[in-house]
Each structure stands twice: as C-alpha cells, then as structure tokens.
C-alpha cells in the first residue's frame, strides 16, 4: 500500500469510528433544501425553476461545514507535525486528506442530490448534468476548502473565517455548475459548462495541494 493510500485509509477509519461528520453534513444538506419550499412557497413551477441553484448553493454551504475539522484535529493532537517529518511530501499528505474529506462529505452529498432534486421537482433532463456537474464540482470545492482550512489553522473563529475566504473562490464552480443544469433543462447543450467545471477541477488539483501545503508549513513553523 502506498503512503497516499495509507493516509486515506487512516482518515476514513477515523471518520468511520467517530461517525457523525458525514451524517451531519448530509443532514444539513437535506434540511436546508427542505427549508426552501417553506421560504419561497410550494408552487411546483417556481421550485422547478430554482432547483439547480438551490441544490448547488446548499451543497456548497454543506461542504463548508466540516472544513474546519480537516486539519484541526491532527494539528491539535500533534500528528500533523509528525506527518510533516515523514519523507512523504506535505502536498501528498494534503491530497490524501482532501481525498478522504471528499469521500466522507462530497460523495454522500452526491448520493443525496437525486432524491432532493426529486423533492424540488427538477426536470428529468437535468439529472445527468446535475450529477456530472456535482461529481466534477465537489472535489474542486474540497480542494479549495483545504486551502482555506490550512490558512485559518489556529485562528480565532476559524470556522466562520474559512467560509469567508473560500466562498468567493467557489463562485465560479457555482456559476458553471448551476448554469450547466439550467442549459440542460432548457434543452441546450451543457457540455461547455461541464468542460469548464472539469478545467476548474484540474486547476484546483494543481493549485490546491501546493497552496494548502505552503499554508500548513507556515502553521507548523
């Protein structure tokens, strides 16, 4: 087993035994989406129209929830410093932790999405695009989130701050994610928006681990 896999397996095992986090994130996602019909009225036409936006915004907020725990626990008990001392590059450590984070939050969100789309009455044409977009977009959100989580490590009120830092950077994902579903629902071609989402994912794959590792080194200095 490579070091990367070992680290992912460790984080998954920790998440599994501590439970809660994934369920909380999905619970937040479901409850927040269920609030919208109360807020804007249950007319099917309105809900159908705003469904892509609601799902994307709520998924974005839900993925912010668990971010402050991404490095915090390891930083507090000192295992992050031990990980820094291992021959494994810190960038790989970050990539492993982000992978585990996505598997425990992004993936459950992805699974819950079709059910919630059904509740909001999303047009059938939108489902495939919504899921493809989410599959490309949520890893990008986790990677952007990792930068934020590493930057605020040890800050006062880090949990609020991380949202303030990451949400502006996440706007492009939201624009193209929701835009793709809107296009698909209107019978237009959504490929361009999905391709841009893919490009954003590739860019964050490149930038995320490097920037987050740089921020972690500052935190551990």
């Amino acid at each position: 087993m490579t070091r990367f896999q070992t680290l992912v397996a460790r984080d998954l095992r920790l998440a599994l035994r501590q439970g809660a986090d994934s369920i909380l994130v999905v619970g937040f996602f479901v409850i927040t989406v269920a609030l919208f019909p109360f807020g804007i009225g249950p007319e099917a036409g309105t809900l159908t129209r705003v469904a892509p936006g609601i799902l994307w915004v709520t998924a974005l907020l839900a993925s912010m929830l668990s971010l402050d725990r991404l490095f915090q626990a390891d930083w507090e008990d000192g295992s992050l410093e031990l990980l820094l001392l291992t021959p494994t590059p810190l960038e790989v450590v970050v990539a492993a932790k982000v992978t585990a984070h996505w598997l425990t939050t992004g993936l459950p969100l992805l699974v819950a999405t079709p059910v919630l789309a059904l509740l909001l009455g999303l047009e059938p044409e939108g489902y495939m695009t919504l899921l493809t977009g989410m599959a490309l977009g949520t890893p990008a959100l986790s990677l952007l989130g990792a930068i934020g989580a590493a930057l605020v490590l040890g800050a006062r009120r880090g949990g609020v701050l991380v949202a303030l830092l990451v949400l502006p950077l996440a706007v492009p994902v939201l624009i193209f994610g929701a835009g793709a579903v809107d296009a698909a629902v209107q019978g237009l071609d959504a490929t361009a928006s999905l391709e841009i989402l893919g490009a954003i994912l590739l860019a964050t794959l490149l930038l995320g681990p490097v920037a987050a590792a740089a921020a972690l080194r500052q935190a551990l200095e």
Binding site: L151, V152, A155, R156, L165, P168, V171, A211, Q218, A219
Partner: protein
C-alpha cells in the same frame, strides 16, 4: 535594531518623496476634476452621466492594480522573508478595498440612469464584487491570529491564491457577452474614446495612482511607528526587572 535597518532607509526615501507626491496628487486630481466636471463635453448618448466614468474607471483600475501590487508584495514577503514587503502588502489592502468599493458604488449610480438598474449579475460586476470579498477576507485573515507573524503569512498565501480573479476581471467583458461594455481605453488599435474625454480620464487615473502612493506612505509610516513603540515598551518592561516575573 537590525530589523529596522531596511525600514529606516524606506522611511528616509519616503519622507523625501512625500511632499512632492502629495502636491502632484492634489494638482492632478484638481486638474482632472476641472476637466471631468466642467471642461469636457457631455456624451451624445449618456449626457452628463458620463462624468461618473472619470471616477468609476480609474477606481476600477486602482482596485485591480492594488490587488496585483498586494499579490506581488506578498510573493516577495514569502520568498525572501522581506519585512517591508509584508508591511506594504498589508497597507495596500484597505486602500484597494476602498477603491473597489468606490468603483462598485459609482458604477451602481451610473447604472441606475443608463441601464435602468442599480445592479446586474453581469460577469464584470460579479468578478469585481468577488475582488472586494477577497480584500475583506485578506484583512480578516491577517488580523485573525494571536501571533501576528502567522496572520501575515497566511494572508500572503491567500493574496496569491486570490490573484486568479484579476485576469478574470480584465477579460470578463470579452469572455462573457453581458451587460458591461467592453474595454475602450486599453485595447488593440488604440483608445476608442475622444481625446477631450481621454485627458480627464488619464489625469484622474494619475491622481488616483498618486493618492495610493500618498496613503501607502502614511500607512507604512504608522505601522513602523507602531512596531517601534511596541519594541520600546517591551524593552522598558524588561529593563524594569521583568526577569523574575513569569
């Protein structure tokens, strides 16, 4: 004291430049405002509302310029651990945020009579709003740590990551064909506006740029003075026999 070696030289140069820059700034702003408000013609379509542009466009340029400068200073601070670059980056942030805010407000005031709306979710407007959020995030992050050194470095990394937004703002009007008009001054084939309007625009741009330098010098001076006071106070505490205190 070697920590202040470099800032001391900066202070000497800055103090020598300061009066000149202030006077030039006041002159170019006065001349720019005279041309912008009185001596330039009204637009054949926009009427007198076009005069808002003489504040709006330079403010937008300065918003982007300040962010670029902040990212550059941050990179220098991270790579060479240059203490002065750090001060410059942090002093730039509030100025840039103010220019970005001015750009958004003046654009909104112009948009009401021209577009019939205070705000539109257009690509240029949205990316400029994100720039303002990035400035606010930078300032919040820099102040969020008990250890100021840590806040500085985190904020520097954030400034570099957020720099991806600057090219997006610049080319947003070309990539997305939405409400905001495309570039008319800095473009291939020369400016597309008449020289009678270009003159006040450029004067205002120079005035804003000099204003940035003036405020930057004031802020950095204040920061250095604050650091000196802190050092002196600590020295006074130690001299007063703080050795046996915890």
């Amino acid at each position: 004291m070697h920590r202040f070696a470099n800032p001391a030289r900066f202070l000497r140069i800055a103090s020598a430049l300061f009066p000149w820059v202030s006077v030039l700034c006041a002159l170019s702003l006065a001349a720019g405002l005279w041309f912008a408000l009185a001596a330039s013609p009204a637009d054949y379509q926009q009427g007198d509302s076009v005069r808002i542009m003489y504040v709006h466009v330079p403010a937008a340029w300065m918003g982007m310029f300040c962010y670029s400068a902040m990212a550059l200073f941050s990179a220098v601070a991270l790579i060479w651990k240059h203490p002065l670059a750090d001060l410059l980056a942090r002093a730039t942030a509030p100025i840039g945020a103010a220019f970005t805010f001015l750009c958004l407000v003046s654009g909104s005031l112009w948009g009401r009579p021209m577009w019939g709306t205070w705000w539109a979710w257009d690509a240029r407007l949205t990316s400029m709003l994100i720039l303002l959020f990035l400035y606010l995030g930078y300032m919040a992050l820099a102040d969020a740590f008990d250890d100021p050194e840590r806040g500085r470095k985190s904020a520097a990394i954030l400034a570099l990551v957020g720099f991806v937004n600057v090219p997006v703002i610049k080319w947003s009007v070309d990539w997305w064909n939405t409400l905001h008009q495309p570039a008319s001054v800095i473009k291939r084939g020369g400016p597309a506006i008449d020289s009678s309007m270009l003159l006040p625009l450029l004067l205002m741009a120079i005035g804003f740029q000099l204003y940035y330098v003036v405020v930057l010098i004031l802020r950095v001076r204040a920061e250095i003075a604050e650091a000196k006071i802190r050092t002196l106070r600590l020295a006074a505490i130690h001299a007063a026999g703080g050795d046996d205190s915890p």
